[in-house]
Symmetry: D3
Subunit: 131 residues, 6 copies
């Protein structure tokens, strides 16, 4: 159970409901997932977060699937179980195959391992890697 109750449509205020409606319209689904229903207690943060998600995750120099893979990687390193689930689902919806998923996990595992080694040895940054 969440730290706060998840707000159903009939419990959400007008400002939160407007965001729910926008989520439904942009994602072409009736389903509003739990993250937004928990955030709805603070409509200002709900709206700011949703606006930022749309701006950042849109196609650009990186394609949306690559952005989802990066999202899963960060969520894993931060230990966010909710985010790992929701963005793995998002990546699949955008075309992530089982092979891609396997390679994503292999890179995350490798990076976690070498991050730990570099930190445990306090390896100084090579001059050529500095701006």
């Amino acid at each position: 159970m969440a730290v706060v109750p998840l707000l159903r449509d009939e419990e959400a205020g007008a400002e939160a409901l407007a965001v729910f409606d926008d989520i439904r319209a942009k994602r072409q689904t009736d389903y509003v997932n739990n993250f937004w229903r928990a955030l709805a207690h603070d409509p200002a943060t709900l709206k700011a977060t949703w606006d930022r998600v749309q701006a950042v995750m849109a196609p650009g120099a990186l394609d949306p699937l690559v952005k989802e893979l990066i999202y899963v990687a960060v969520s894993t390193a931060n230990g966010c179980d909710y985010c790992v689930h929701s963005h793995t689902a998002g990546a699949k919806a955008k075309g992530m195959t089982p092979e891609m998923h396997g390679e994503l996990l292999a890179v995350i595992a490798l990076a976690s391992q070498t991050n730990a080694l570099a930190t445990a040895l306090s390896v100084p940054v090579d001059d050529r890697f500095k701006a």
Copy 2:
């Protein structure tokens, strides 16, 4: 300064030197970066790590640039300054443009923010995100 001295070629043992030579050959450069020189105190881990890097970072279902982006994302979330520098350099060498770098950072920042919100609210995973 590292927790252990960085081993120069003439200080490294034969097994470590063989890995250094393989790094030089595969990367077509004379330069062996500090991470490998710190790891050289333990040739078995040096070799296992270098072998794993080659296996995981090779082209596959994901292309090598995407893998570097994921590596930077994990290294940032884990707070590994060395790895952020080395893999940002690696991503640039594989074609990351300033626009891609900007979008990478924007996704990392967004994920860090929503990870924190989901954790602070302990949002329960939606059934539809579960396997």
Copy 3:
């Protein structure tokens, strides 16, 4: 389920029971929460932790509610679900309003985001911020 069984009063040793009694007296409640019941397997750590909680969380230059907000912030960044729940409840008991909760989460989310950006860019500390 915990990694160790939660000790009921009748299962706890005399030293642990004395801490339970002190918790009940100081907090003016019969309820001893799960954290203490799990710690009770090691009465020395149980007592040292409870003593430290009392010393640190008492009113001082910062008031107890502010201390609870800081506690929730650290617990979120460390990904401790138990602690997020117990200290959010503690903050509410000390007067945290929904508006305060919303602002707490907004600061945590903002800090998480700029922490990631500063790390990913390895921004050098300005001289004026150094002691």
Copy 4:
């Protein structure tokens, strides 16, 4: 040295310069700190971040000093050295005394310790802490 060069005024584009000017005006200082100069490579993220900082850190249900304390707490738990320095300086500028600083650190240290204990024991959340 940063992963990217810090942009001086004369190197920053018009959009970034407008943010620098706004920072100077709002903070009533000529000094623009390194974080913003590193972010200036991506004017969109620079502006979005600065806008969010202003919205979130403004006086509200929590006062600005309390918000800075929370910021330091998150930055510490996330291991962001730059942010620890800049927000400790920010807290001092807003009135944090040495006594407050000492209590802030004591709470951060205590929370880090009990977070670790609760995680190592996987303590289940008490029903009464759930929404």
Copy 5:
């Protein structure tokens, strides 16, 4: 529920099944735990991980129980609930007594606390601690 289904023997491919069989033989048990069943979707990572576990966790300059204690410590700091459970069980199987468990947790808690203090104060490393 996992992000991917746990593969039963009859669902796993030949390469994954060979690893399962090796786990059973080496551990002298019929039980294959969930971690390996989740990894079985990517037989290459399954095999590489199992091989590395055997190489690293074998008796050497450190005995296997000490290695399990270190494993629990890292898993706690990384907030991995699964790993805390499985490696605490592993440590018990290798002889960890309740007293050892209590001392392990006390060291983890102390380190977490002083890690936070050193980070919040950005204490410079003493020259004598450098290689």
Copy 6:
């Protein structure tokens, strides 16, 4: 440079100086390392921390060297550069050989890797691992 100045003996108050003297006596050295000099701004936390270090790190069911290894492991996972340096030095002073150091790092790296995999897959805890 630290967030606060490191206090020299002549700058420290009487209560902090008493702790410095106790550190010198117990460790049989004139040297007081930077961590304690930074903590000396808050004598209460200085004393509480030093007392706890003595209680926790003393010989018990685990020997002091094993405790230092666990300390290095936690410090690495938490990304505390100061603590990695000081406790690696502490472990060496207590008898850690280069072979032990190599195995310590190999376990830390392996755990970091499997922690990430278990988190990215959200592997459910096996019933047999639960208390």
